[in-house]
Symmetry: C2
Subunit: 256 residues, 2 copies
Amino acid sequence: MATDGTAGTEDRTLALLWRHRVVEAGSGSARGPKQKTTVDAVIGSGIALADDEGLDTFSMRKVAERLGLGVMSVYTYVPGRDELIGLMVDQVMGERPHPPLDGDLAARLDAVARHLWDEYRRHPWLLQVDTSRPWLGPNLADRYEWELSAVEGIGVSDIEMDQIVTLLAGFVSSAARSARDMERTQQRSGMSDAEWWEINAPLLERVMSGANYPLAGRVGQASGEAYNAASNPQLAFEFGLARVIDGVVAFVRAQQ
Amino acid sequence: MATDGTAGTEDRTLALLWRHRVVEAGSGSARGPKQKTTVDAVIGSGIALADDEGLDTFSMRKVAERLGLGVMSVYTYVPGRDELIGLMVDQVMGERPHPPLDGDLAARLDAVARHLWDEYRRHPWLLQVDTSRPWLGPNLADRYEWELSAVEGIGVSDIEMDQIVTLLAGFVSSAARSARDMERTQQRSGMSDAEWWEINAPLLERVMSGANYPLAGRVGQASGEAYNAASNPQLAFEFGLARVIDGVVAFVRAQQ
DNA sequence: ATGTGCGAGCGTACACCATACGGAGTACGT
DNA sequence: ACGTACTCCGTATGGTGTACGCTCGCACAT
């Protein structure tokens, strides 16, 4: 059983996550040399690095460089790379206070979605975080409580409350993902959609000449003319959000 | 300018993607030794590896091992790791024929969503593919055409057709992501939700005792009792899909 | 029939990565 | 004063993608 080692790391990480809200129990002595920096600074460096470069090239070496530390010293602050990213996520979730939720259900859902949307726009690397092992930190807990408060008292079951919140958050993340994808494609290739098309059009046309794509061709052209790009993520977000909210509101109305 | 090198790789990859539909132009001579295997076999090995292990530990070395080749020989079939994954994606997209779309709009949207859902369930690694540089292959093109055909002739603009399809596909991917996350968490930790909770409950309770989470506590408990787990991805998919379809149908009706 | 040269296969090397281990130095508790 | 716990970090291990350049089998032109 690896229960011991794993549980140890998990304990330590949970303690780190909640470090500002829990009085360090019997943490005890402060022997040895003073630490050069702090856990918060390590997390801050990580966030700055991820904001700059994304998570693809995120490395402990670069975090250490930003802090003026040797690589292995970072491991005296956080248990490892994955755990550091978990701490970064929770930190970012508490960066801005959750706006108060006023108005009717639709307005409250709208406010939640736009808060998440802004967060993804400011920290696109959140979309690259492996969510299969989420670390339950204070800001994630606050977030969930806040999201649930948007659908409290509307006459649906507890489970349906959770499902509504899950649907909304999932929609925002997928919309934000499209937005990030488009920006990254343009930035990394260093060319606009138009330029890319100009270069690849000959081959694509030759290649797609056999089969024909009437709808894709027509819709693609319409999008291209309207946006001067393959898509417009902001508008896609607005359109999808309206549909999702409509669907949820209709459901709630039907339950009453 | 790196235009030359990059464009070369892109050309080669596009040619590989469309290899079955385009007669190799002046590809020319077949000198030298016969290749031990084929591009399709390389892609197939890649898919098998990804199905087995996911993309986290996906490596060219493992692909080569499955083929009985040296590592570098794989590079004579595909330009690189990213391009191989792109080829795998397109291959998987053509694995099953797209079911015909009958019935009313809601039924057609439902059929599209379930097809995507099944695909993600069979190849969860699709959710890990970096989508910021999608390779336009024949099966992706077919897919888009098929999806658009579900919303053709319903009285909305071309751009709105694209937005509806984007919304639906995004919803399915986020629902599938939750499902995969839950399964992976359980499998990798080797413990059920209940066991995990039993181990971490003491620390979490101590840690969360300061703030209180009335809604999260109540909803979490309800979910736990109903599902004997933190969530039920299949039900979340059904619930969300119904809401999204309702929202879209209401929109289309309002346009008429 | 022959030999030329293309291209498949791949060994090696390089530049990265996370992180385990152990040593050196430091500052507190006793 | 001294043990000891703790920080910092050099080094090593085992992983990654892939560039480079070698060998040699084989198809084609002669």
